[in-house]
Symmetry: D2
Subunit: 325 residues, 4 copies
């Protein structure tokens, strides 16, 4: 009988539990057994392994976080041998790894050493290559958009600028999608360098046309060479620059780890559920060494070396977003 | 200078305003003018036409409903001539119609008479052919899933069955997606006939395995020949049958028109925004007689005769959903 | 060392877990021990008792339902002796009961037999006497108001009536508060008999003044003698009558058990937390035989015979609500 | 015929529109007329006055912000005469002012000069004296609690501290109530000075007892003498200190103006509606020079000199909150 061991690795994201539930229930329908590894790869290295039944995953679909816990341990070659031993000891057919881009690099290493592994893309950052969407992204975008909705309803009487700092160290997916969905008046992402004058002039133009209220969204990893002091974060620095340049009251919102939390959206629940089914299907067919991906509306299996590369935010969409400024 | 006239027709759906905003802002960036027709085709027949500027659509992105109003009037051949005259009088280049499946049939008629029209698929029912998703569907599914989440948190101490009736007269998209996303224990849709025993036995099996609480989702258009008295709705009739057959307390929730309301989800805002851009792009290229569609993750233009056909719910997914019962 | 045993009885309500957490944490700060009884009074009769530590209640604050489970068993005199024996066996100083109005009658019986018991008013119905508010009421009202908000955003183009049936078998608190908070156009509660003409004429007047859309909220326990066939619920029957009388399309929403679910509102979390503290404070002072109440913004202890009486909905407020129709 | 003129002044808060709607509808039922002043006192000084009918306020109940706009202009003695003239010109019987604590000082000045004014306490800060609650407070607390809920669901695997900065320049109401409702592990408010060691040791103790994850809530106006560099806000400075002292990864969330936005909660809708009714009732009785207050569950009228004083956060509750750390 085939036996799948699930682990979540890297930063957590909403939808992890929905994916775990899907793998467990799909596996039992196909007469496979399922184990759960607690605390990511570290748990595997320290034998923290439990049995997951259909009932263990009852009620977890709408919950944020992950019932298995996670850790950031990236594995090295020395650890591959230990992982193989643990897998043998527990008679694990395939390791089902749910994680972020860095986790896919670990999966790539395991695959190179013939350790049987399959993975699901789980990250709010949406920066995993080879898939159009990652589990958790839509929920995080929703958190950003709801914050912008709230900012929009507050008084517009004054000439005031709101700067909102989102997550996204390497890529601007969250800022871009959250900004568009929340009706931002300017979006700053790591992929595109913007001159200070462009932002300031845009705020001026809005004020002149009677809209004294502007919302600027910036990804935490945005690199603007003209920001002098980013010790308190780029959002804070940008707010200071705008206030100095325009004389308008400028306030900051730093969304922080809220973006990793909350109940997954319908979109993320469905994506996690479908991807979990696809993973079990691959196990059934004896396939390993692949990540489940969604490309052009279809589920596919892609290689880990591809998945581990950074997928940059869509610049064409970034340019289109300017239509709404 | 090109001039677009927007109208919303048929039952409304969340995301209509996001789409209107997108068309208006995209059009002004391309130096086109935009008019708004109030009250659907009826408004066009009675000259209820206003000017829409970039500022008219400020702040409408997160709002449910439609600022233009709607009506269910399906047009006939006699009205086509009047519509043409109104369009000439207002020098309208293209009519941009946002509406449901029946509306696409009206657009088909207009196209057959060479009236220049483009459309966006706007309906919570997701039953328009030629597109993977319609604007409003994700929000309605979210409303259903949130209702199921609430039902799940209430006491499971008793052997109790909850029947939830969703919208969906001809197709089961809402019940199917809402049911999966909300973790339903049984889903009944118009596309699939289910024996009473199958439902009852499933509820028994769950009770025997210690889960005395079951949630059954049924689309309002489901046709179960063994339901005797559906005067109070199929949900009510199904609840009665289950209670009689199992002796378990069975309660009903009828979601009703709530499913048409609420602020659009991120998914619907982005879909509406992207589709609005695509429509204006088609106007720029001089294309008419098409509906904007999303197929395999790509935006396309499809013919109205195709769009006006019913798209039935995905039976393969329905069968997969049983894995989670 | 004093030892408190907590149990939840009757229909559950949001905030139960917040109250349990509060009792546990407050008790440990005062060097008391806490047990949890699973499944209400039935659990006490069958020795289903666990130990609750500060850590057992970690993370339960925002969760709906109750981690202890509940049952509807109303106790009789024969059971009182068994309860006393179980309490002796587990060396329980005080039984802390969280429950609805009927549960307060059971607490009254226990008190008459000198079984030491304290209670918190936990019910979405808000019908417990002696307290201004019960835990769970605000959350249920919020669920109703959000449903009405969604109905309000959907198309108002047609002359259409929406009937919304809320819980409330004996009293109209939920319908009244939910209706006011959600901007209902007419509210029907068990405490007040309304003529059919009054409702129908009001809907007519609204239509004549240009508001063709009306929302009527009715409590499930409302008794309108002119409703002919209430087999499918009073909401359904009322919708039918209105449609027949006005010729306007009339649709029904039955909120059902959703109203018992969901994460408690801030108001309910604070009320549950404060009341839990007060209960432990009473234990410390050696007081028993009382329910914690909130009266005029102050926490008090009231007798069970008072609490077990029905508190009818505020008729003065009902009359004031007419101002907003 | 009596004529009321409504204006909103100071920072806006959710529930303003619910209050405006209540005043308008209550007034028309009592045969009074209602005007709306746009942009606060500034609008009164510049004749920006509109007529409000029952229909003008249709649909505004659930909306954040204020349909009348606001401004921060505090009035001086020179302006009182102009205000009186405008009121005479428009034949205004009473000025109905919705605003924050500073606004009550302006109302006090007007009252001293015999200008007829009545007011409602509208501020998220809850710092207006003489009333237990202000309109907008519950909604802002809800925003804080929801952010904390999201933080709680994200991974607890690492030893990590989350610092959340709330509004509250002079008082700690928001931090205190939001912190309790959201299950914070430490709360810092302007009213209480805390030693660094107390916070750090508490975080250590939690880590030792297996809870490596701590959430610290701090009001933006908290004054901790041991915070070295608060240029980027006290939240950022506190996070830095905790990280330096504990070596634990510490992240910051700055909620910012989100706290002023969003749809009002049921609690705020009901409070605003009831207070609006009370204000109109006072007009009917010919009373002026008072603010509507809620004290001990009862509506009262209090003097402006009292209301303009700061109401500090409840220290007893602050101490009780420690039970839950």
């Amino acid at each position: 009988m085939k036996r799948i061991a699930i682990l979540t690795a890297g930063a957590d994201a909403p939808g992890a539990n929905a994916a775990i539930r899907s793998i467990v229930r799909s596996a039992y329908h196909m007469d496979m057994e399922v184990l759960g590894v607690r605390g990511g790869f570290a748990g595997l290295l320290s034998d923290d392994v439990i049995i997951l039944t259909s009932k263990s995953v009852s009620g977890i679909l709408p919950r944020g976080g992950t019932i298995l816990g996670t850790s950031r341990t990236r594995i090295d070659e020395a650890q591959v041998q230990t992982i193989r031993e643990v897998m043998d000891r527990y008679r694990i057919t395939v390791l089902a790894v749910l994680g972020d881009r860095e986790t896919m690099a670990s999966c790539d290493l395991l695959t190179q050493h013939d350790v049987p592994v399959l993975a699901l893309p789980l990250t709010i950052d949406n920066d995993i290559n080879g898939t159009d969407e990652t589990i958790g992204f839509d929920t995080a975008v929703t958190t950003i958009a709801e914050a912008l909705d709230k900012l929009h309803t507050t008084a517009e009487a004054h000439h005031r600028v709101m700067v909102v700092e989102t997550m996204g160290g390497a890529t601007g997916w969250l800022a871009l999608y959250g900004g568009i969905a929340g009706g931002a008046d300017f979006i700053v992402i790591p992929e595109v360098t913007v001159e200070k004058d462009k932002i300031v002039n845009h705020i001026y133009r809005r004020r002149e046309s009677g809209r004294g209220f502007s919302i600027v969204v910036i990804a935490e990893g945005a690199k603007l060479p003209w920001l002098s002091n980013t010790e308190g974060g780029v959002g804070h620095a940008l707010a200071q620059e705008i206030q100095d340049a325009t004389g308008m009251e400028t306030r900051i919102t730093v969304l922080g780890h809220q973006q990793r939390g909350g109940s997954p959206t319908v979109q993320d629940r469905l994506l996690a559920t479908r991807m979990g089914m696809e993973l079990v299907n691959a196990v059934k067919q004896g396939i390993t060494g692949k990540m489940v991906a969604l490309t052009g509306g279809k589920f596919e299996l892609v290689n880990f070396d591809l998945a581990a590369q950074v997928k940059m935010a869509d610049k064409e969409l970034y340019n289109l977003a300017e239509l709404f400024y």
